[in-house]
Amino acid sequence: MLDTIVIPLLKILVLLNAVLVAVTFMTLLERKVIAWAQSRLGPMRVGPYGVLQAIADPIKLILKEDITPARADRMLFTLAPILSLVPALVVFSVVPFGGDELFYVTDINVGLLFIISVTSIGVYGIILAGWASNSKYPLLASLRASAQLISYEIAVTMTLVSVILTAGTLSMVGIVEAQQESGLWFGFVQPVAFVLVLIGGLAETNRAPFDLPEAEQELTGGFHTEYSGMRFALFFLAEYANMIVITAVVTILFWGGWLRPFPNVEALAFLDLVPGWIWFFGKMFVFLYLFIWIRATLPRYRYDQLMRLGWKVLIPIAIANIVVTGVFKVLL
């Protein structure tokens, strides 16, 4: 009873809270990093160096009036933000933050597929938000979003196949262990796949330069144009939670998860003094920073260019990568 129900529930509780807190502070991190990139200070008023801004923002959003447009589809309008947040949170159940059983809720033998499939549910939130708003810009945005997310999902899944081939398992813990055995992070074995997943991840999370569904200069905010208050905040939570998921997946698949650099080199054994989860979060942070950095730097793609990139560049490369990986796998 304790092992099967209480402990997992406790873990889930802790994880959920941790993720939500992390997400709120992600917004602060994003604002700060972008501010530094743009030679500004970012939020400075709430708390020392604006640290408490992350708490002030949600409070503000909760207190705001929650507006439902008169002609909106009320049920879907309410459901959409939830549908977009829940999958993003569910995914964390199979993300191992460390090698010890303490650091993950569960390790299922189809962990990676589980992540892919559950994140694919998140698209409903965006599509239904656009539809339920009964407004033209959100509708355009949701059409964009559905096409974009499905296209890039194909590209990312295809790419992950080659990683699965290399690792020989779908379990997230298993993949890290495979890296430990081979003594090499898969980022070095599968550099192409890494780049593809990173690009696809940007697109899957609607981050710049692929933030077309919420391009505020074109579609006035896209699918969440009509949203306000906490429902609007839920979309943001989902976006940042997805970002964290993607960085976690990239860390696990390509950069050895909680492993120290060169896990098999004995000379570097002193690095093991640093606990695994610190390595993990450190690596995640690097990628989160990269995501934010990219947003501060690059202009936005256009819809057709985005689709062209997805279908004509990423997917062929991903397939070629699978073939090459397969050939090596057979030969070696």
């Binding site: 710049a208 330069p209 933030d211 200069q217 074109e218 501060a296 690059l298 202009p299 819809y303 260019q305």
Partner: protein
């Protein structure tokens, strides 16, 4: 969506009419563009303006000649000094007043500073529209320096009222020229910074190359002016063709485009940053001594007659057509030829056939200020 006649397209997605503006983040004010879309492709566009029409031309008929300078500030409010300059030059032409050389030089400096400020704003918003938000803040950072300079010169940061008929209200403050030189040095470093972020950026290239191409003939026919006209390769710069202020005594180049697309217009404006800095440096070097106010009658009352005079504002050819009846202390008719208005007219041919995302890029590339379009 309701009430469509049988003649309307049967498939709803075939044509979607969306109203871009008047409240929209990237229409640079209260521009409204009614887009007919086929999917995301623009089939037709109707540009609706007039949302901040304040009747400045009518107002001018009831203000005396000096008060009008103040009204011209409110047209292109991001380039008030060039508006002042155009108006003052026109009245001076009408009254045949000789402006002292020092005043003409300072006017040139102010106008070129204003051009840099206006282009900074353009660059920032244009890049922002295409999604590059850092450039926006970089450009505004430099614009702030110019506003500081203007503040020191005339006390205002946006609506300067910085010129008078016959010259300038005041000479430059002590040390101002040094600060302008320092600014030029800063700008020398910052322009490459913008270029680094955009010029060779692949996404920027894909978003701007071959977008909104307009041929030289079409550009002339549509009455485009300023960078959009030069982007199509037409050598037309009022500063060169019909020199005013001190431009005939200074050296500068007029950058020309070859393809007439959004990217060329971007390059031209970036080059104009450099040319403006060059002009400011020359004007500072050759700044003559002397008064800043010419011999102007106490009561400004031009003889009856009418004239058209144009200057090159940051947006293009800014013309004033003024009719004096010789009797009243206010113009009988004052007409402004707003460059933004004429350039905006080119928006429809530019956007048709492009995607929604390009519409914002094209609104950005023609560089409009709605205060000037609507007056």
């Amino acid at each position: 969506m309701t009430g469509q006649a049988a003649a309307a397209p049967i498939f709803d997605t075939d044509e979607l009419v969306i109203n871009m503006g008047p409240q929209h983040p990237s229409t640079h004010g209260v521009l409204r563009v009614v887009l007919r879309l086929d999917g995301e492709r623009v089939v037709d566009a109707d540009v609706v303006i007039g949302y901040i029409h304040r009747g400045i031309e009518k107002l001018c008929e009831n203000r005396d000649w000096t008060q009008i300078i103040l009204l011209t500030d409110r047209m292109d409010y991001v380039a008030a000094a060039t508006n002042n300059l155009g108006y003052c030059e026109t009245v001076e032409k009408l009254m045949e007043i000789e402006v002292p050389r020092r005043a003409r030089y300072i006017r040139t400096i102010l106008a070129e500073l204003q051009r840099i400020a206006s282009h900074c704003l353009w660059l920032g918003t244009h890049a922002m529209d295409i999604g590059a938000m850092t450039v926006f803040l970089y450009a505004f950072r430099e614009r702030e320096l110019i506003l500081d300079l203007f503040e020191e010169y005339c006390g205002a940061r946006l609506t300067y009222n910085s010129m008078r008929i016959g010259g300038l209200p005041l000479d430059i403050p002590t040390g101002w020229d040094v600060k302008v030189r320092e600014f030029c040095k800063v700008m020398d470093e910052k322009v490459p910074e913008y270029e680094e972020l955009l010029t060779n950026n692949r996404i920027w290239l894909e978003r701007t190359r071959d977008i909104g191409v307009i041929s030289a003939e079409d550009a002339i026919g549509l009455g485009l002016c300023g960078p959009p006209l030069r982007g199509s390769g037409v050598y037309r710069d009022v500063r060169k063709d019909e020199p005013y202020a001190a431009y005939d005594e200074l050296e500068f180049d007029v950058p020309l485009g070859t393809r007439g697309d959004t990217y060329d217009r971007y390059l031209i404006r970036l080059e104009e940053f450099r040319q403006s800095i060059r002009l400011i440096r020359q004007a500072l070097d050759g700044l003559p001594e002397g008064p800043v106010m010419g011999k102007v009658p106490r009561l400004i009352k031009p003889k009856a007659g009418e004239t058209y005079h144009a200057i090159e504002s940051p947006k293009g050819e800014l013309g004033y057509f003024i009719v004096s009846d010789g009797r009243a202390t206010n113009p009988y008719r004052m007409r402004v030829r707003p460059p933004s208005f004429c350039n905006l007219q080119g928006l429809r041919p530019l956007v048709v056939g492009h995607l929604v995302a390009d519409v914002v890029a094209l609104i950005g590339t023609i560089d409009i200020v709605l205060g000037e379009v609507d007056r």
